[in-house]
Amino acid sequence: MEAIQAVLGAGCTPMTRILEVENLSVHFKVGGLSLLVKPPSVKAVDGVSFYINEGETLGLAGETGSGKSTIAKVLVGLYKPTSGRIRFMGREIRFDHRGDITFLRRNIGIVFQDPVSSLNPRLRVRDIIREALVAAGVDRKEHDEKIAQIVPLVGLRPSSLNSYPRQLSGGEKQRVSLARALVVPKKLLILDEPTSSLDVSVQAQVLNTLRRLKSELGLSYLFITHDLNVLKYMSNRVCVMFYGKLVESGPTKSVINQPKHPYTQELVANLLRRSESGSVVIREHQPSFEGCIYKRICPYVMSECSQTHPPLYHVGEEHSVACYLSKAGILAQ
């Protein structure tokens, strides 16, 4: 991390980093019932580094299965990393240490991608939200007031408090998870596709609310989304992932306006094409397990791309790219 600051130059005063993730890898074993063959592993996250400044929103983009939710789950102690370091609020997190995990969970809130499986079907909405207050040790007497405050903020009708999850529509369920995550203010809130099942008007309401709450409560967000419009609108900086690897990161404006990695370029181009006509260019989308992860799809492959996956190169202020095309830049790490 000091290396990054050194490259950035002494001129800029670094903001307080609430979260620093270095070289994070999470590998899952799959299959593996046979004793003869070594079980293959899925590198859901492979050597990923990023940081989040206090009061900032970091957007995490990348296609399905690229490891975004896995990162989120590591950060709330649901998965143990295979390797890598995580510092949160200045504290080095040891994943075999219960105190550290509790520390993470107390200060990091999360809204999951799938609203259905994350809500207990046997509890009424009021009690689902209340559970978060109990877990945070909030005084019982304050429960009703806190619940009454959060419900309109997330666009939920007060009458829904007495419903069970199955009685709510998909959008309503997603708003319950938001209420549960926001009812106890956290330092960092992870939003995993928080609005993907919401219609645009509720999405607009939730996005406005999230932006307002962030400055009011001094929150930081890790915002995971597939929707580039939402990503642009919400994040100060973005990280783009492809099959477990970080391929590009930087300030949102430079990444969207001057995408450097061929994959990011394609994402942005598809976004533009979709808003204009309807036709999209389709290419094979398989990762390569030798050399650059993007090699099999990349239109610019060069000979060195077959050797090793490229390191991160600097292409602008805080903007770095894992692609040999950007080699002229300074090595980021």
Partner: protein, 376 residues
């Protein structure tokens, strides 16, 4: 997929009757002009593939009954792609499920209406056994919560092959496991699943959310339906996979004439793939029209609000335009126009009487602002 005759000609649809309120007696509502026509299609083309007429559904519970669909009429023509767009809780899923006979009755109760599929069957009065057959065959659905489509105790590959085997049986074609497996793998690849053979060997819970969604979509496609209902098909999929999926769906539609009913809250998405769109609010259809027109020149104040709520710009952009007020509470709907409490253009007329869905074949709107366009 060979079962479905390729459709290479254009179908023109003209609505003559425009008043939604009366149940129309026959199929005279739609005229079709077409060039050279294969015989099977000629027969089928004399009627819409799907007609939902005046569908009115309540959810009944001990707390009372709630009307979720009020007099909803929609139609899907052979090989047409139709979108249902609306706010959460507007009843889209209920509509989709009712077509597939998947509504739990009770608590759902059909008060009125009929669903005509393929010119004959009233789906609302079909028994479970017959529906089961129809669902595995001519009608197929991708549920909003894709988890539900997959059985957690069987591996993905087993379930996909089973779907394909059932489809072959129905078509009385021989089933070859090896070639079936190749077909499944090819389809998954088209849906951007990397290492599809590895996916076949996994249990549903081992897949990421977006992957599960794609497996569910593959499952529905393998059943080779005439009408495919997709409930929020793109939620949780990234922009790239979304466009890939849309291309695949369009291909399925163009080459095999599969008609689709796409239920989504994403208006721009619906506009890119659908021919026609219905906009729903509080269980009613508020606007109907040609897809691009609805997105680019929305008429109804609610549709306008939907369009202006789409995020635009970067983090320093101003807050988004949000329609004021809360989503409608179906238990306490206003007397007149259901959008009136949130409408910037409302008048006393709006609060007293609910407007009808009126207009011509180019589009219909349920709003007093457009009432003198045609027959008042």
């Amino acid at each position: 997929m060979q079962r479905l005759t390729k459709i290479k000609f254009k179908i023109l649809t003209l609505n003559v009757d425009s008043v939604d309120d009366k149940p129309y007696k026959s199929v005279s509502r739609h005229f079709r002009c077409m060039s050279s026509t294969p015989t099977i299609l000629e027969e089928r083309a004399t009627s819409s593939l799907l007609q939902v007429r005046n569908l009115t559904i309540d959810y009944v519970s001990i707390d009372g009954s709630v009307r979720v669909l009020e007099d909803v009429s929609i139609s899907v023509d052979t090989s047409e792609v139709v979108g249902i767009v609306g706010e959460s809780g507007s009843g889209k899923t209920t509509l989709g499920l009712s077509i597939l006979g998947l509504l739990d009755r009770p608590p759902a109760k059909v008060r009125r209406g009929e669903i005509i599929f393929d010119g004959e069957t009233d789906l609302l009065r079909l028994d479970d056994h017959k529906f089961e057959k129809l669902r595995g065959g001519h009608l197929s659905i991708v549920l909003q919560e894709s988890v539900e489509a997959l059985n957690p105790v069987y591996k993905v590959g087993f379930q996909l092959l089973e779907a394909l085997e059932a489809a072959s049986k129905r078509e009385k074609k021989s089933f070859n496991r090896e070639s079936a497996k190749r077909e499944v793998l090819r389809l998954l690849e088209e849906l951007c699943v990397s290492q599809p053979s590895m996916v076949l060997d996994k249990y549903p819970h081992e897949l990421s959310g977006g992957m599960r969604k794609r497996v569910a979509i593959a499952m529905a496609i393998l059943q080779k339906p005439k009408l495919l209902v997709l409930d929020e098909p793109t939620t949780g999929l990234d922009a790239y996979v979304q466009s890939r999926l849309l291309t695949l769906l369009r291909q399925l539609n163009r080459e095999y004439g599969v008609a689709m009913l796409i239920v989504t809250h994403d208006l721009p998405l619906a506009a890119t793939i659908c021919d026609r769109i219905y906009v729903m609010y509080a269980g009613r259809i508020l606007e109907e029209g040609e897809a691009k027109a609805v997105l680019n020149s929305p008429k109804h104040p609610y549709t306008k609000a939907l369009v202006s709520a789409i995020p635009q710009g970067f983090v320093d952009a101003p807050p988004l335009d949000v329609p004021p007020g809360e989503p409608p509470d179906l238990k306490r709907l206003p007397k007149g126009c259901k959008f009136a409490p949130r409408c910037p253009k409302k008048t006393s007329l709006c609060e007293a009487f609910e407007p009808l869905l009126l207009g011509s074949h180019t589009g219909r709107v349920r709003c007093w602002l457009y009432s003198d366009d045609k027959n008042t």
